[in-house]
Symmetry: C2
Subunit: 451 residues, 2 copies
């Protein structure tokens, strides 16, 4: 809305006690509340009061070996987001779901349901799963190869969008007199038969307020960027420097254009883990205090998984050993590349690298005053590095409260962020249109006229 002043989109990425891997040891955080819905309700209210576009949950389908020193466990995204939908009114609700370990009928249905329940605020962060551990929870002997995961994801999306369109918007008539509930000609089987999926449809839920959830993507590999350029309406990405962010931004926008899409309809949101202090030195001290709370074994395990090398064999205060080639990585390829580049560029020891990754797992960490944070965000936004940001509070709930009460007002003063919600759907917040139904008469007419 109100395009006279271009404003940024802000998503808050919620993760248990916070994004910093030591957040659960940091004073004031609430690791004992990560399965308590009241905790997440408080966080959602802070974000909604600050007029964030959306809140977002990552997801994984396995427990890593890190359980002793903190682990990514807790509530499942759909159950959590639905519970939050009941107690919020404007903020978008973005959940991560893997196309590798799910069936498109279930996923399409659950997102349609969440979109109805939230009255048009659902978003789907589409992932292909980066962890070998997940396969062994789903009767698979091995994790599907990277390229094949994206092939499956494309077919998954084809089925899901078909199912979302299997009911026309005006299919439900409810003519009590005549006894007609729905018009059968407007509810269609999709009869999908592809390499991986065979799905008849229709979906068992009418088309939802947004038509379908906002499609979000977070992979930044070659496959990931192509997938995003074709399907995604927003991208969460990890970029360390403005220059890299600009390159990524220009690359992905150009790809979207090559797919015949309006590049404005693909929002690029780099992650930012802002450690905020009253002064710059207070912020740096906070960052250091957090880093000092990290447990080396935890970071070593995370880093070993990310890089495909057992780092426990090497001295903590020495350099990284020789790394495998990215072609041998079957997890998150782009994150591997980012971390390898970072270590090389800044000549980091293993311990230094663990600290650099502790805040954002490869996302940018910036420690400074609220004004300095706002300066950074403004610079990236105005210099072609982003359309907004994926805000990753290092510790919760206080880190979000600080961002909401200090950085957001600063951005608002600069005219860079909304002061009131203008819309009620996530598509509305992101300035995205409601997708036409591919099967509807109206869509077919438009297609005909375009010829």
């Amino acid at each position: 809305m109100s395009k006279h002043n271009k404003q940024m989109n802000l998503n808050v990425f919620i993760m248990n006690a916070g994004h910093h891997e030591a957040s659960w040891r940091y004073p004031g955080t609430e690791p004992h509340n990560i399965t308590d819905i009241a905790y997440f309700k408080r966080i959602a209210r802070i974000a909604e009061d600050a007029k964030f576009d959306s809140l977002f949950l990552a997801d994984g389908l396995a427990v890593s070996k890190n359980i002793k020193h903190g682990a990514f466990v807790g509530l499942e995204p759909f159950t959590l987001l639905s519970a939050l939908a009941s107690v919020t009114e404007h903020i978008g609700l973005i959940g991560t779901v893997s196309t590798t370990y799910n069936e498109p009928f279930h996923v399409a249905r659950k997102f349609a349901s969440l979109d109805h329940i939230s009255k048009g605020r659902a978003g789907w962060n589409i992932v292909t799963s980066g962890s070998e551990f997940e396969a062994s929870n789903f009767s698979q002997d091995a994790h599907l190869e990277h390229h094949k995961r994206y092939e499956r994801a494309r077919e998954f999306l084809e089925v899901a969008t078909g199912l979302w369109d299997s009911w026309e918007d005006d299919a439900v008539i409810i003519d009590r007199e005549a006894g007609v509930f729905a018009e059968p000609g407007k509810v269609r089987a999709i009869e999908h038969a592809g390499d991986t999926f065979k799905v008849r449809g229709p979906l068992n839920i009418p088309r939802s307020p947004q038509g379908y959830p906002v499609l979000v993507q977070a992979g930044s590999s070659e496959d990931g960027k192509e997938f995003a350029a074709q399907y995604a309406e927003a991208i969460f990405t990890a970029q360390q420097t403005l220059k890299e962010a600009q390159q990524f931004y220009a690359d992905v926008k150009a790809r979207a254009a090559r797919h015949g899409r309006n590049p404005d309809h693909l929002k690029i949101l780099p992650g930012i883990c802002a450690v905020i202090g009253a002064t710059e030195s207070e912020a740096k001290e906070k960052e250091q205090a957090l880093n000092e709370l990290t447990v080396p074994e935890y970071g070593l395990n995370q880093l070993s998984n990310m890089l495909g090398v057992d780092l426990f064999k090497y001295p903590l205060d020495g350099p990284l050993p020789e790394l495998p080639n990215v072609s041998q990585i079957n997890g998150n390829k782009s994150r591997f590349q980012l971390v390898a580049d970072l270590a090389r560029r800044d000549q980091l020891t293993i311990r230094q690298l663990i600290h650099r990754l502790a805040g954002g797992r490869g996302h940018r960490v910036f420690a400074g005053t609220a004004v300095q944070v706002a300066d950074q965000l403004e610079e990236w936004f105005k210099q072609g590095g982003s359309d907004g940001f994926n805000v990753m509070p290092p510790y919760l709930p206080a880190g979000l409260e600080e961002f909401a009460s200090q950085v957001v007002p600063e951005l608002q003063r600069r005219g860079l962020f909304r002061t009131e919600y203008q819309e009620r759907t996530l598509r509305g917040h992101f300035g995205l249109g409601r997708p036409l139904n591919q099967f509807s008469t109206a869509a077919r007419l438009l297609e005909y006229e375009a010829k």
Copy 2:
């Protein structure tokens, strides 16, 4: 709780505009609201204000051909129940999930999440799916054969209960000083490798308030009864007469005892669709008005699917044709038998049978005053026919309001139903214990002492 007066358990089975198949045409119902969470919130509040034990949602994974005249479509159970968990405090939340078209890791995780979000109010109605249509939405060429579905269900339960126990209750320590989040020895891989599933575990969510959701089952076939006797803690069942209900009750309780279980820990809850009037004749007129709103094609299609015969070829006012043998039915075997017996016993024409099934699809329909309804419930409860009831309002929300404001107070006056909640979990309402963790030291000690 308070076992001095044995009281019945009441569950409300919520279905869109109501259980009567013509409810969406009945004055006062809200078929336009079946995807609106506000509608379900109102219904949940009525049920909670009346102190119902639980509310329950059925589920299916395909749209039948009945879409023109009303169909079983709408919100997905987990998203709906989580949204309701946010706005209720006491009532149990029971969702249906098929073991035939799901993976145990996802299902165990979602129920654990719902149980955390609701603080111990989750229940799982375990079904094996009765409809051939579902297979074609999940890349399957045919619906799994009845007996194989139950084999899969048993292995599914084995995996799910293992996953729920993969975290001991005191596994999460959160020792900030020492940097210990969880005790690794109390979070276990389950390493399941069976005929159908291979699941390593552990689950990625700590053990939930109830240990695991109350396990509910609704199949009444031979396989279904055996499965229920082994695993279920409550059974929803369709019984037309007290005599049949008594036989079923005695049969299932004896089976539970043969499995070494306390029969009191398996609650038997027959369905009751009560059409309530100020006088008996008003109730009968209501029932007739509802039946007259049925659309014959809808009922014919339902009945054809249920009986495995195309009834469109036979005169509506004539008798049923010869039916297949129950062994040829691969859907809901016990419902087939019930309907076949009902038509034979009461010498019904096809049209009469459609009307008899319109209110409860084979569940008992009773039209009368609130006192007469209470008399019926008391008789079944006191004569060994049930431990309580699965209340199926013919139309919503008014049918539930009538039951809550007229039948419930009558049962309370007779000392047959609670006037206040005594407990905060569904296990508490049902008088069920919290399951021990099969892997915990405490459980192993108990096992040892029992030898």
